[in-house]
Every structure is written in structure tokens, then in C-alpha cells.
Assembly symmetry: C2
Homo-oligomer: 532 residues x 2
């Protein structure tokens, strides 16, 4: 196992907030919420975890890639959502997978699937384990055993075609490993989800992850030129193409399949030359509606900023992004070809025309590296946030996020309803709470709003309270026709709302495809469609 | 029926080339090919066509939307590819559909499907009938009857949300009708396939049509916010969303389904404000490789031109686009927000850096309307071309197109092979011939090349010769991993090569979905997957 990864909390143990940081966090949250969080609770030692013995043994041929280490199994039990952290901190690993298998080749993946089909052992494909929607957990009570199929040993960039800006990459490559290999060729994938350090290419494809770019290339979908997966019925490989119109896209059935149809093993990805021209600015708005209208106008003007992140004043405050107690729009452009000043200037002008005032910038730069501006402060807060979430959970603070997308014409009513519903739920279950909003991605036809909520929660009532707030949020989304997820995926958490939103006949089609590719029903059972 | 549409040739009878134009064409082609085309052959009168009597009657409730008119049935027998024109000109309508049904509501579509399922009457969804891949023809010999389901009476823009730049449009709306209704709101879909005047929104979605924009929004796929279709098992409707990450995209299974899974009835489309700023230029290249490299550099610089159409010197000559006997790159930018001069200038500079010389422009304009430049001359030639094709067929000239997409790293070898293989086939079957190439769309990872071939063909050997040349072209595409179609769809013509290129397990999935949605197998049997 990877010794430096926490068995219950976000990320690396050596990056967990220090005692001093946690004290500061405690004080900050007390100020935000107006109540004192509980003193920290210590996670239990690994040898005291409630973690049953494995029920199955691997076939001899796969013994060499098998782990039954307790901490390893604990680490593969959950993703990293709030309820995952709560259960982990409580030492509840009753649904730990029996075995961790770490294939080093497609042959081994195929062997695992062939072996599992006979007895009906469930196979849960596992990348970084950073799902926030219950995408990698499975209680497996009705099964003889559960395997967590950890893909991270298949982590190489296999082939690069610089002429075509394409790279063939194994699905188990985590963000930094993938970028380091591409950097040798002067290239980059530029896909930076919050989980970048730990999540894998295969996980991004399986969950339709959202990335770096606020416009145009919003989802990993747009960067996939082809992909390959091993299904229980054999390999599935699409042609490496810049575009095609030959029947429905095979790749688009793999994208978002969440480990239910096959195990993604590699993909040809559209990569970028490293950007050398950048520009950024931040614009303050006193009025939220002005800020939204400005952002809409910018999205619809189609200058395609790489960053177009609107933070409401609470979000800015929570992330310590300078906003002078207002709402703030962070604008960024980047190019590997030419200066970006004209597009940036025009977007600043649009923002001003909608009541914005320039807070910082425009800053234009040539060359690589960071410049310490608001965008960088945002990025640091962004990557640090999940660690703080883990620490907050130890202090009895419920903290979670949810995200969506909706046409502009429906946003205001949705937002009002979300704010009203989630605040009411926080009030009822936490006594008080905070709800913040930002736009992570924007489209000409609508924004992708992202909400963070926090509130103090009574010991022993964490999961119950969280379920109530999550349901209030999700019900509001569905009431307004907003998607249950823009880029966090469906997993087990979003299933009830997903089922209401997808065309029922599409679900029927998905069931038919699942029966065809995975007749024994061993792959991530119960995700996207019900377990048979 | 629509009286002004030809029963055998492209488009409107009143737009068929005049006698003088045809004489000019005859002389021009004689000069290009170095041989005299045959004298024109007259199409047969409608009452002499080989067109069997209908084998079935509609149910009484649908009698009012049924046509059995001979010319109407002839017009619904084929698309408008070369072999379609040859068979039409020969009066061969033996596989005419028995009935034309023109539903005016989704209820009527559902009634047709319910009625057809019992006896197994085949239902072929029909939009503009402009397929060039045999997408709307069906011999129906094993069926009790064949219905052509003409959707063009469902042609309204039902709802517009200007705030979100979205419009709900019925699938039977043809290009001009759709644009006229959007224009009332100052909006436009900006999707201009060559068939624009006759083809329908539903047809574009079913076939993943390629449109106006050379970059970013290349296929209709990118403009679909949601869609609705009536399947034999009931309605399928996706949520109207700017983006989502909730499972595999339902819309992407409808896109490219070519009438095999259901009848598309309406869609929420992403529309545009009418552009008010434009810029254009044309650049000449002496050397084809320089031209390709320049186009690649421009595509990879990501300034997202709306037009980036590279014509080889033969293509420019054939379309009378000024190119001074060289290859020519037509560049265009458009915006509804701001002047486009900077991006245009930068792309011109890139082209010059790769050996190009400025032939015309840069021309910048504000306001609507055309300016008579090379782009406009191209557009006129583009819309006139299918009429000229029909006239050429009467002169014994084989003329057809094929198109593909491939990563840049594979283009040169593909192109050499295509040129060699198609010229050899033309030599063998026509004695001589002409092959031209243009790029219709470009991506950072590869171009979408589009080829036109022509050659004189012996009377009575038209179909046989065409099949040989088409096979030579298609085999070359498959040899190099280039897609069998970038935006012309699969239909019946491309099936053998499509079958080699799609993942076989995807085909299995598609079969399973088809059995689920269309258990009687009545919808466009044999397209995409084999008839059961």
C-alpha cells in the first residue's frame, strides 16, 4: 500500500494540517459559525478498526498482486465525502473490500474479471479513491466477496505523438505522475480537478471529471480521443480520432460509466503545449445579480477564458480570496501561441458594463511559473480545502459540497431555492450553518454552480444530519431541472435523484448494455443501475 | 408532396441548372477530364417509372397523413448520393416505400410505430432525404411493407429562451424555416451543412451532421442541449442542460442513431446571437505540405476560427475560388461581441510563417450581410455543387465525395494512399478522372479531409464503377485508421467499413439497446446493425 496516504482522511498523512493550523481553523470556524466547534477527536489506531477478516482468497496466479493489509483495506473502503470521513474517523470499516488487487497489465485485469464472474465476487475499479459520491464503496453483503481493483500500478505514458498533440496514457496514472511524464515532451493535459494529486486518468474518464478550463474543455470528455477498457466479455477499444460521425460515439458510453461496464485501462488523450502567455484579473461586484449577469455576458461573448470563476462573498471569505467583502469574478486566459490581453480587456470591459469594479489586474505575463496573484491564492486554497475538511470533521463540523448545472434562465430561481432549502435544513439539523456558492464552469447556455455547506453537528448524529441536508439540496436541484451532478458523478449517493432525471428508456438501454458486457453483474454493482 | 422538389435530382426543380449552365458545365468538365462527356440523358417522365403499387394500406386513423403519390414515393426512395442519382435517372424505383406518412404530432408518430410493430412494417424516418450514404433507402423485400416517415410537417420553433440562448425546435424543421423563425428573435443556429436548404434538424441530429464552424462546434452534437424522441417503447426525453456529468450522456446515444432507435421529434438547441463582427482572408500556398502544416499550426494555436477551410489547387479550380493556381486557405472569424482582427492577424502571420502568401484580405467588417469575397464565392459554389452533380450524372460523369478525419501524424500517409488508390480506381474504371481535397473542419489533433472525385463512366456500368472507386477510397481510410465518416453518417453504404472500425462490444451494446427500444425491429432495419 501507499504508506503516506491516510486510511481515513483526505490525502497524505504528512500534509494533514499541523496542530497550529488546526487551532487557527478552529478559531476561524468559530467566528464563521458563531459557535465553538467541539475539541478534536483523534482517529483510532489501525489495529482497533472494525474491519472483518477477508472472506475470500485470490486465485494463486493473482496472489502476487493481492493485498489484505488492514490499513490498505481501510483506505479502499470509502471515497472522501463527508459521510466517508465520518465513518472512517469512527473506525467503521465493516464494509471493507476483502482483497485489494493491483494489476500491472490488461491480462491481469482480464484474469481478475474472469475469476470473479464464477462465484459472483464484486469488482470495484479503484483509482485515487477520491470519490465524493460513494463511487468506490460497496457493502457486498449479498456477495461471497468484494475486490477493490486498484489500477494505480498501470501509470505510464505509453506513447506520445507531438505532431497531433496526443498521448496514450494508462488509466492508473495519477495527476502528478501523468504530468511529469508529459512534461518531458513539453506537453500537459491541463486537467486539474481538486483531487489532481491522487485521482487517476481512468477515474476521471469513468466519472466525467471536470477540470481546469472554465469554458470549451470543461469535462475530461472533450480531451479523450479514444479509450480502451477490459470488460468481462473482452477488450473494447475505440479508434484514435480527432472527430467522427460514425454512429453514436462509443467513447461517450464509456465516459460516465463509473466502472459498471468495464475497467478502463488506457486512453489517447488530447494534450496541450505548455502555455506561455497568461493574463488575469479579478473584478468585484457589490450585487450578486450583477455578478451573475456579467458572468453570463462573458460566457456568451465566447472569448473562451480558461478561468471564469465567480465566487460569492462567503465563498471568497472562506477561501481568503481578496474581494473587499464583495463577490468576485476571477478571470484568466492562457495561450501557448499569442498574448491574451485583448480578450482579457474585453471581458473586463463587459464586467464593468455590468457593475463590476476592477480589483486586481489586468496582469499579463509571458513565460511559465506562477505569479502569486488572486488566482494562485485561489489555487492554494482549492488544493488545501479537502485537508481542512478532514480536520473539521474531527471537530464535529459537517462540511460538504454539491454542484450542478442549469440554463441561465433557471439559475436565479434555483439559487434562491437552494439557499432557502439548505439553510433551513442546516438550521434544523445543525442549529446554524454557512452556505457558499461559486461557478466552476460556465457555458453560453448556463453556469455550473458549486455549493459548499458547513454547520456544527451533534456527536452521533453526523450521518443522519448530513443525509437530511444532502436531500434538501438534491431535492431542490431536481425541482428546478438542474443536473444532480455536473462533474462529481452519480455513485451511490446520487442514485435516487439521478434515477428521476435520466430518460427511463435510457436506463433500460443501460441495463441491456450492462447485461451484454457484464453478464455476471460483478462490476461496481448498484452504481448507475440497480443490482440484479 | 412538395411539388417543387425533383423526384430524382438534387433539390428544387426550378434551381436545376439551365441549359446554358449545363452547356458550360459540359465544356468545363471536358477541359478538366480531357474527354468529352456524353450528351445529356433526359430523366424519364414520372408515369413511366419502375415503381410497384403499394403493398399495404395505412390504418384509417392515419389515412389523412398518408400519400401514395407516385412522384412523392419516388422522391422518398433514395437519398442524393451518386448511386441514388443514377438509379433515379434510370427510373429505377423498385424499392420505393409503399406509403409516405407525414405526422403532425408526436401522437401520430407513436401511432405509426404502434401500427407498424404488429405486421413488422419497416419505418424509415425521413427528413430532407439528402442522405449520401443510403440512410433513407430500404428494399423491404422481407417485409410486408415499408413506410417513409416524413417529419417535415413538424417544423416549428416551439419556444425560445433568449437569456440562455436556447430554442426548442421540432425535428422536421428544414434549415431556412428554422433560421427564419429564430431570426424573429435575433438568433441563429449557425448550422449550415451543404444540404441546409432541404435537410432537417432531426436529420442533422440522427446523422451527427457537420456544420458551419470549422472549429469548436464542428458537429451538431455540440449544439444539442437536450432532445426528445419517440421510440416504439414510448418517449425518451433528456433534461435541458448546459452540461452534465451524470452517467453516460443519453443525448450522445441519440446523436448518430440514424433512425434505428427512435424518431427524433424535437430538441433544445444552443443558438447564437447573429454575428456582427467578421474578418476574413485567403492565403495561397505553392506547396501542399506547407499548407497542411500551416493549417495544423493554426488549429493548434486555438484561436478558434469559424472558417479554416484549406482547398487543394484542384478543389480551388473546380470551385472557381481564386487561388492563382495554388492551394488556398480560407480563414474566417466571426463574433457577436467584439472585432476579430487580432485573432485573424495572428492566424495570417502563422500562415505566412509556414510559407503562405496573402492572396486577399484581411477584410474586417461590422454589421450583417455578405461582402462578395472568396468566402462568399466559396459558399455559392458550395450550395450549387449538388445541382451540378445531378447535371453531371446526366452526362455520364461519375461524381461523388467522401470525407474522414485522422490525427495529423497520420494524414500525409493517408492522403498519399487515398490519392494513389482512388486515382488507380478511376483510371481502371473511368479511364481518367479527377480527385480534389479540402479540409472542412480542423481540430488540434487532426484535420477532417473531404475528397471529391469525378470521371467519365460507361453507360450501364455506373453503379459497378462507382462501387469499385468507393471501395478503393473506403479501404484506404480503414487501412490508415481514418474514420469512415466524419459527418456524412454510416447509412447502408458505409456499413462494411463501419463494422470494421467500431469496437465489436459497442456493436453488441447497440444491438442490446435496439432490442430494448425497438423489439419488433421496425426502425430503419439494417442501418448501423444488421437486420434480425
Amino acid at each position: 500500500m501507499e504508506e503516506d496516504l491516510s486510511f481515513w482522511a483526505w490525502g497524505r498523512t504528512d500534509r494533514y494540517p499541523t496542530r497550529a493550523m488546526r487551532q487557527g481553523l478552529h478559531a476561524q470556524i468559530a467566528a464563521f459559525l458563531g459557535v465553538q466547534p467541539r475539541p478534536e477527536r483523534e482517529p483510532p489506531p489501525v489495529d482497533t478498526l472494525d474491519l472483518p477478516a477477508p472472506r475470500i482468497e485470490p486465485p494463486p496466479a493473482l496472489a502476487g498482486i493481492t493485498s489484505t493489509d488492514r490499513a490498505d483495506r481501510a483506505r479502499h473502503t470509502y471515497g472522501r465525502s463527508y459521510p466517508d470521513l465520518v465513518r472512517g474517523l469512527a473506525g467503521d470499516f465493516r464494509q471493507a473490500p476483502d482483497l485489494i488487487l493491483r494489476p500491472e497489465s490488461e491480462d491481469q485485469v482480464a484474469q481478475v474479471l474472469a475469476w470473479a464472474a464464477g462465484p459472483g465476487v464484486a469488482v470495484i475499479p479503484f483509482g485515487g479513491g477520491t470519490s465524493v459520491v460513494g463511487g468506490v464503496e460497496y457493502d457486498g453483503a449479498t456477495r461471497p466477496g468484494v475486490v477493490s481493483l486498484d489500477m494505480t500500478r498501470m501509470d505510464r505514458v505509453l506513447e506520445v505523438r507531438p505532431t497531433s498533440l496526443l498521448a496514450r496514457i494508462q488509466a492508473g496514472a495519477k495527476g502528478p505522475r501523468l504530468e511529469a511524464q508529459l512534461a518531458e515532451h513539453g506537453l500537459t493535459l491541463r486537467h486539474y480537478p481538486q483531487s489532481f494529486e491522487f485521482s487517476t486518468l481512468g477515474g476521471w474518464i469513468a466519472t466525467r471529471a471536470g477540470g481546469h478550463f472554465a469554458t470549451v474543455y470543461t469535462h475530461i470528455d472533450d480531451l479523450v480521443a479514444s479509450c480502451r477498457m477490459i470488460t468481462p466479455q473482452g477488450p473494447w477499444e475505440s479508434a484514435r480520432l480527432p472527430g467522427s460521425g460514425a454512429g453514436p460515439s462509443p467513447d461517450r458510453l464509456v465516459l460516465g460509466s463509473e466502472g459498471t461496464l468495464g475497467v478502463i485501462t488506457e486512453a489517447w488523450m488530447r494534450v496541450f503545449p505548455r502555455p506561455t502567455f497568461r493574463g488575469r484579473a479579478s473584478i468585484r461586484f457589490e450585487d450578486w445579480r450583477d455578478a451573475v449577469e456579467a458572468t453570463r455576458a462573458i460566457a456568451q461573448a465566447r472569448h473562451f477564458p480558461s478561468n471564469c470563476r465567480l465566487l460569492d462573498k462567503r465563498e471568497a471569505m472562506l477561501n481568503m480570496v481578496p474581494a473587499n467583502a464583495g463577490h468576485v469574478l476571477l478571470l484568466g486566459f492562457e495561450s501557448a501561441d499569442a498574448p491574451v490581453g485583448h480578450a482579457l480587456d474585453r471581458c473586463i470591459q463587459i464586467a464593468k458594463d455590468h457593475g463590476g469594479t476592477l480589483l486586481d489586474g489586468p496582469h499579463l505575463r509571458e513565460g511559465e511559473g506562477r505569479d502569486g496573484g488572486a488566482g494562485d491564492r485561489w489555487r492554494e486554497a482549492f488544493l488545501q480545502a479537502p485537508y481542512l475538511q478532514s480536520a473539521l470533521v474531527t471537530m464535529g463540523v459537517m462540511v460538504d459540497t454539491f454542484e450542478t448545472a442549469i440554463p441561465w434562465d433557471g439559475f436565479e430561481a434555483l439559487h434562491d431555492d437552494v439557499v432557502r432549502s439548505v439553510r433551513a435544513a442546516l438550521k434544523e439539523h445543525c442549529g446554524t450553518g454557512l452556505l457558499t456558492c461559486r461557478f466552476t464552469h460556465v457555458y453560453p447556455d448556463g453556469p455550473a454552480p458549486y455549493y459548499t455547506f458547513l454547520g456544527p453537528v451533534a456527536e452521533g448524529r453526523e450521518l443522519q444530519s448530513w443525509r437530511a441536508v444532502k436531500a434538501a439540496a438534491s431535492d431542490a436541484l431536481v425541482r428546478h431541472g438542474a443536473t444532480i451532478t455536473h462533474h462529481h458523478a452519480v455513485g451511490r449517493v446520487h442514485r435516487p435523484w439521478y434515477d428521476q432525471q435520466r430518460p427511463e428508456l435510457f436506463a433500460e438501454g443501460l441495463r441491456a448494455v450492462k447485461r451484454t458486457l457484464d453478464p455476471a453483474g460483478v462490476l461496481n454493482p448498484g452504481v448507475l443501475i440497480e443490482e440484479r
